[in-house]
């Protein structure tokens, strides 16, 4: 087995009493687009900054191609980085900004010129070479920052919420360009965001951070279909969480009962019988029927319905007065109206029981 391109091992970082990150471990393949996703304060930036060299871990190791990065000064790590705030050098033109990393490496002038041109073309800003950063929009500045970070062909590109300050339309535009740049250059990218949609759109794999730890690592599909915890399920996509009491554990499946005594089954990790838990079901995997079609169905009342063009959104109320969200194709929702009693159904493999 070959050594992984980038290995993050047992990272821990504390500030006095505050534990910023703990037990952070991750292997990243060459050319992979890996995203750190998590709420504010979950330790994404701290992890990234340790890889970049701006912070030293209290414990742990970072290896690039099997060699430790921690003893290497930030300016010798040969890593590219794009920050959330615009960090172009305000006194240098766009061209000079992109040339900066090549200048400090004392590359020949002819090479610098060619490379700057190539990088500005990559980010579609060839005509802006002589502008000052202050004369450009935020989106353009971030594109220049990407060009600057890639100018010296770093094997690894770090990005800390580079699009957070941009409006939605611009963000989507640059996300699209980032995917293209990733494909064209083959650079390995570590990307930080707290926007799940952005993470799903860009990444090969996503590491979900929560309170300084990685909760789960996987492709977007894996995280969505098989979340390992209630936190991940809640953070990626929309979910319904129903209170249950676990009665029996089988091989990867649990039998549980709802507050009204009705039995239900779902995927589950190891569970102690008798403990309280939560059953998670995605809104689009639930169906509302006027009458029960199988034994497993929850009697509900339709409280609200919204026509969304491609689908219908329902709010239904359970016997224990909890509101659940349901999404169905428009034609499947025919015959339902607000206030009517109905039966809520889902396939039991779409139910996940969490602690």
């Amino acid at each position: 087995m070959t050594t992984p391109f980038l290995q993050i091992r047992g990272l821990r970082k504390t500030y006095d009493q505050v534990v910023a990150i703990d037990h952070v471990a991750l292997d990243i393949k060459q050319g992979e687009f890996m995203t750190f996703l998590g709420p504010s304060g979950s330790g994404k930036s701290t992890t990234l900054y340790i890889v970049a060299g701006f912070q030293e871990p209290t414990e742990g190791q970072v290896l690039l191609n099997g060699k430790s990065l921690l003893d290497v000064a930030p300016n010798k790590r040969n890593i590219g980085m794009v920050f959330q705030r615009y960090t172009l050098f305000p006194h240098l033109t766009v061209g000079e900004n992109v040339a900066f990393p090549l200048r400090v490496r004392r590359r020949p002038e002819s090479e610098i010129k060619a490379k700057v041109e190539k990088m500005l073309e990559l980010v579609h800003l060839a005509d802006y070479r002589d502008r000052l950063p202050g004369q450009m929009s935020g989106g353009q500045q971030q594109r220049v920052a990407i060009a600057r970070a890639l100018a010296y062909d770093p094997p690894l590109l770090l990005m800390d919420e580079p699009l957070a300050a941009l409006d939605k339309k611009l963000r989507e535009e640059i996300q699209f360009e980032l995917r293209r740049i990733h494909q064209e250059t083959g650079v390995t990218i570590l990307y930080v965001t707290h926007d799940q949609e952005e993470a799903l759109r860009l990444s090969d794999r996503i590491a979900v951070f929560s309170q300084g730890r990685i909760e789960q690592v996987g492709t977007g599909e894996e995280l969505y279909e098989h979340p390992s915890s209630r936190f991940v399920a809640g953070f990626i996509g929309n979910s319904n969480f129903l209170p249950v009491k676990v009665e029996q554990m089988g091989a990867g499946r649990a039998r549980a009962i709802f507050p009204n005594g009705q039995a239900v089954e779902g995927d589950a990790r190891a569970f102690a019988a008798g403990s309280e838990g939560t059953l998670m079901v995605r809104p689009e995997q639930m169906r509302i029927r006027p009458h029960a079609t199988s034994a497993q169905g929850l009697a509900v009342t339709v409280r609200d319905m919204t026509y969304l063009g491609d689908s219908m959104h329902f709010a239904v109320q359970t016997p224990w007065e909890q509101e659940l969200a349901v999404r169905m194709a428009v034609r499947d929702g025919q015959g339902l109206c607000i206030g009517s009693s109905a039966v809520l159904e889902w396939d039991s493999q779409h139910g996940h029981v969490f602690a």
């Binding site: 701006f54 960090t87 000052l132």
Partner: protein, 294 residues
């Protein structure tokens, strides 16, 4: 409809702005008057005396620029001011940088030290330096005790004394504006320089210094101009060998009662100062707007 509205609104606003401006000038009148009486009138009197006494003409200026002694004083003045500015920059830049990056507790302490020294009486501070720097003073005794030297150094009544004393006095005038400039620089800009591969030295030379240039220039100019006209410290710490312009003027007025020549010297100093100020406005004004949004 909207066009009609805006065509009415614009002149209305302009009229309001104009009236606000004239009102502002009216409010400033007492200050302007004060400046006129206490600043412009003495300067004009001085100028007048420099071209009228003892007889009308430019002979005072001719004497000032023709005599070896006086030219020497001019040279000393500019040299001392230049050396002081340079040393103040060399000490002040790291100090301002420290102030900007130290944790708040420590930077507050450093600030307090700076301001406290600034608020202490000038004469007291200068005498304190005389005591510290004399042959049997603390500095010489420490150096002798450490075995760095075996003869006491002559640290007062020469260029060294003036430079030390003046640098100390000028330091806050450089550090305070420079600190404000440095504080405004986003630390992640320097981080970006580091990830780009710049060494500390390259970051300083290629990013920090250019960004700090407006602060450096205005602080340095302030120090230079103040040094040009400084009297107390050069007189006490410099002795007679490095007479500066302010001392010359004092001597001309007090001992020789030569108001004409003193006026000419003072006027030359004023013109040089204003000239430097104009240069700063011209080049740094342009430089700053070129910096763009940040």
């Amino acid at each position: 409809m909207p066009t009609a509205l805006s065509s009415v609104a614009v002149p209305a606003r302009r009229r309001f702005r104009l009236s606000a401006q004239t009102r502002g000038i009216k409010l400033m009148l007492p200050v302007l008057l004060l400046l006129l009486v206490f600043f412009l009138v003495p300067v004009l009197t001085l100028l007048l005396r420099s071209i009228m006494e003892p007889t009308p003409g430019l002979q005072n200026y001719a004497e000032l620029l023709g005599s070896q002694t006086y030219v020497r004083v001019f040279f000393n003045t500019f040299m001392v001011a230049g050396v002081v500015t340079l040393i103040t920059l060399l000490v002040g830049f790291p100090t301002a940088w420290l102030l900007a990056i130290l944790p708040p507790r420590w930077s507050r302490l450093l600030f307090a030290v700076l301001l406290l020294s600034m608020w202490t009486n000038l004469l007291a501070r200068t005498y304190a330096w005389m005591v510290l720097l004399q042959q049997t003073g603390l500095v010489n005794r420490v150096l002798l005790g450490l075995g760095v030297i075996d003869q006491p150094l002559t640290l007062v009544n020469n260029l060294i004394g003036v430079t030390i004393g003046m640098t100390y006095i000028m330091l806050p005038f450089l550090v305070l504006p420079l600190h404000a400039t440095l504080r405004a620089i986003d630390p992640s800009t320097l981080r970006a320089a580091a990830v780009c591969g710049a060494s500390r030295w390259q970051s300083l030379r290629l990013v920090l210094l250019p960004l700090a240039l407006p602060g450096i220039a205005s602080g340095a100019l302030m120090v230079f101009v103040m040094s040009l006209g400084y009297y107390v410290t050069p007189a006490l710490l410099g002795g007679t060998s490095y007479m500066m312009l302010a001392e010359l003027i004092a001597q001309l007025v007090q001992s020789l009662l030569n108001w004409g020549l003193a006026g000419a010297a003072a006027f030359v100093l004023l013109v040089v100062t204003l000239g430097l100020y104009a240069v700063q406005l011209r080049y740094l004004g342009a430089g700053r707007s070129g910096m763009g949004g940040r």
